[in-house]
């Protein structure tokens, strides 16, 4: 069993379909709530909680970790794409009915923060087949202990695109903050950036959302907080290691 118990602040509630009586629904720890208007948390469905439980569990094998994190990432991307602008389009169906539908306006691209963010590229491609994907490498500078940009390769016309910025774990948010600065430096307006994230710390995501009030954050879960080593509590460990090397 775990040595450190979960802080009492973790919100716990019964999860399940609305038609089921509360007594028939299991209870689980759900995402914390933050007051930022530009942070969107996925609906806390029992299925999402079960998927998160799989990838959080230290005993989950790498193959399962990859499979279940991909499923969550697809849900994240589907939700993220909901925030893009649309125009109306009426079409005729194969049975002759008229459907008042819609189309997307504008172009998109993905930008992954290496290396954990690259693990989200497959989920993005599952939804957007031929999407362009840029990469940014940010590492901690040994001398200053601050994040430093080592490499970037982005689509040339990125200033004209909506950017889906990918990074699964958000603790203090040093890398994500620097990545947004890089994108803004390339002429991407702040309101055209969507940050897709799996698990965030409440303090980190709140200050990030306040620093960039016009971008949007879509996350699957906001955890309880950070520990003394700045790890997310309860978190899931190092996402990149669990996805790529362990």
């Amino acid at each position: 069993m775990a040595e450190k118990p979960a802080p009492a602040s973790a919100p716990t509630q019964c999860v399940g379909p609305t038609f089921r009586a509360v007594a028939d629904k299991p209870s689980a720890t759900v995402s914390a709530v933050v007051s930022s208007d530009n942070v969107y948390v996925l609906p806390q469905t029992p299925q999402l909680i079960a998927l998160l439980s799989m990838i959080r569990n230290k005993d989950t094998e790498r193959a399962d970790f990859i499979f279940y994190s991909n499923r969550i990432i697809r849900l994240l991307v589907e939700e993220g794409l909901n925030h893009l602008p649309v125009i109306e389009k009426n079409i005729t169906t194969p049975v002759g009915r008229t459907y008042n539908g819609l189309m997307f306006q504008g172009k998109i691209c993905g930008v992954s923060i290496m290396r954990a963010g690259e693990a989200m590229e497959q989920g993005l491609r599952d939804c957007c087949r031929s999407v362009r994907i840029g990469k940014i490498l940010i590492q901690r500078d040994e001398d200053t202990a601050l994040p430093k940009l080592f490499y970037d390769k982005l689509p040339e016309d990125i200033a004209n695109r909506w950017v889906l910025l990918l990074d699964p774990m958000f603790a203090t948010g040093g890398s994500a903050t620097m990545a947004v600065e890089v994108l803004k430096g390339r002429g991407v307006p702040e309101d055209r950036i969507l940050f897709l994230n799996l698990i965030a710390s409440p303090e980190g995501i709140t200050s990030f959302a306040a620093k960039f009030p016009r971008l949007k954050v879509v996350t699957a879960f906001i955890d309880e907080g950070l520990d003394e080593k700045n790890y997310i509590v309860p978190g899931l460990g190092d996402f990149g290691d669990r996805f790529y090397t362990i």
């Binding site: 589907e78 939700e79 819609l102 939804c127």
Partner: protein
């Protein structure tokens, strides 16, 4: 129409009886070699009906020895397991699946495996003592006795036993005079008196054969008419009532609306259609999985913290309603790669529009699965869905465990389904005011 007010919920429950719920049983009795097997098989072939074979008792070692020496009396009612037969017939009469033992004449023993019979509309029960037990006669809709000359019987029997059952001629003759003939006089012949129809000259009797086929066809037609009437009656009730809260309609965010626009546009390319259908189907399945049962699970994360999460309570399997439902399979494999999957083919009759069950393969232990997802692309009148749920019920799946997931459904059909089976959950992407003919599977499979 029969209707019950449930005391637990205010939901009104309607009753649906599938066409196989009241199977007609036709018994064919007669002496060994009288041509009853040939006659029955001809009927079965002409009408494409299932076939019930022998219900001989398993022999004790001593009896088995006698049997191999051709000294065991197979032609006495004692050799027949009437209790097992009656249980099977009663299950079938109740519309349930029944396991029929398989008897090996070469080994004189019941084999390990059984054949399962499910959902026949008419059943032909053939055997020398088919009309012997009054309990069997009570379950039968028609009793036929095949009459034949004793010489013909003996010669036919020798040919059959030597050719098909690996006996020698001497053994056959020994059996004839020791058992068959005395038993015939004692047990078989009296059945003439209780039969509805006596057919002389067996298979050569074309007139009798045609009469029987006609009778069965009439029975089938009556059943089909009653089934269609019952479906129509279910449709007219409660059209304007709100849908059950167990119907989960997916909220139409911009992304789902965008995918719908592409899927429903008649000008969309096949490549795009398949891609976007797979993508949307994955979301429908994720949504369906939110309605299965979970249990609490406390887990430890790598840094050593505890998380109070959930895990599925048990196995989730799927049943595909062919052909449409198989468009969900790529999405299902993406979500539960090793999901055990049953399949059933229901087609609407071209002439009458009546849904008919043509093919069925389900996991043996499906009644033990925690949840069963029932997948179909579209629901129009709900006739196929009603039948599919009834099939699961007949195989022991509790209604609360069934989650039906579909791309689109007409409101009337869905309402009808939920009135008959209020305990199931239905997940629908598009709820349509009117029923619509099936087009999704044509687009997905391109034919």
């Amino acid at each position: 129409m029969s209707q019950l007010e449930s005391h637990v919920t205010v939901q009104k429950r309607a009753y649906y009886s599938p066409p196989w719920a009241d199977v007609s049983i036709i018994a064919v009795a007669g002496s060994s070699g009288s041509g009853k097997s040939t006659l029955s098989q001809t009927i079965v072939k002409k009408l494409n009906l299932p076939w019930v074979d022998s219900f001989y008792k398993t022999l004790t070692p001593a009896q088995s020895k006698l049997a191999f020496a051709n000294e065991y009396d197979f032609d006495s009612p004692e050799a027949i397991d009437f209790d097992a037969l009656i249980n099977t017939l009663r299950d079938l009469k109740a519309g349930k699946r029944a396991e029929v033992p398989v008897y090996s004449f070469a080994k004189h023993a019941r084999l390990e495996h059984t054949t399962s019979i499910y959902s026949p509309h008419v059943l032909v029960l053939e055997g020398i003592f088919a009309l012997y037990d009054p309990r069997v006669r009570e379950l039968c809709d028609m009793g036929i006795y095949c009459d034949a000359d004793a010489d013909t019987c003996l010669s036919r029997r020798i040919v059959r036993d030597v050719r098909e059952r690996g006996r020698d001629v001497e053994g056959c003759i020994k059996q004839w005079f020791a058992f068959v003939k005395p038993n015939f006089e004692k047990f078989v012949e009296p059945q003439r008196k209780v039969a509805d129809l006596i057919v002389p000259r067996g298979i050569e009797n074309r007139v009798a054969l045609d009469m029987m086929v006609q009778f069965i066809e009439k029975k089938l037609f009556e059943k089909s008419t009653h089934h269609r009437e019952a479906l129509a009656r279910l449709e007219v009730r409660d059209r304007d009532e709100p849908l059950s809260d167990r119907v989960v309609v997916m909220s139409e965010g911009p992304q789902i609306k965008f995918m719908n626009t592409i899927l429903q546009d008649i000008d969309t390319s096949a490549e795009d259609f398949i891609f976007y259908f797979d993508r949307l189907a994955a979301l429908i399945i994720e949504q369906a999985l939110n309605n299965v049962q979970f249990e609490e699970a406390s887990i430890e994360t790598p840094p050593g913290y505890t998380y109070n999460g959930l895990r599925p309570k048990g196995e989730v399997s799927a049943v595909i309603v062919l052909r449409g439902g198989s468009a969900f399979e790529p999405a299902l494999r993406k979500t539960i790669p090793d999901c055990r999957t049953g399949r059933l083919l229901i087609q609407s009759s071209y002439s009458t529009g009546e849904p008919e069950l043509h093919y069925l393969r389900l996991p043996e232990d499906i009644h033990k699965h925690e949840s069963v997802l029932l997948l179909d692309t579209q629901m129009a009148s709900g006739g196929a869905a009603l039948m599919a749920v009834q099939v699961l019920v007949d195989h022991g799946v509790a209604l609360e465990r069934i989650v039906l997931a579909t791309y689109s459904a007409g409101k009337v059909g869905l309402h009808r389904l939920m009135t008959v089976f209020p305990e199931i959950t239905a997940v629908v992407c598009n709820l349509l005011p009117h029923a619509e003919q099936r087009w999704v599977e044509k687009r997905y499979f391109r034919c």
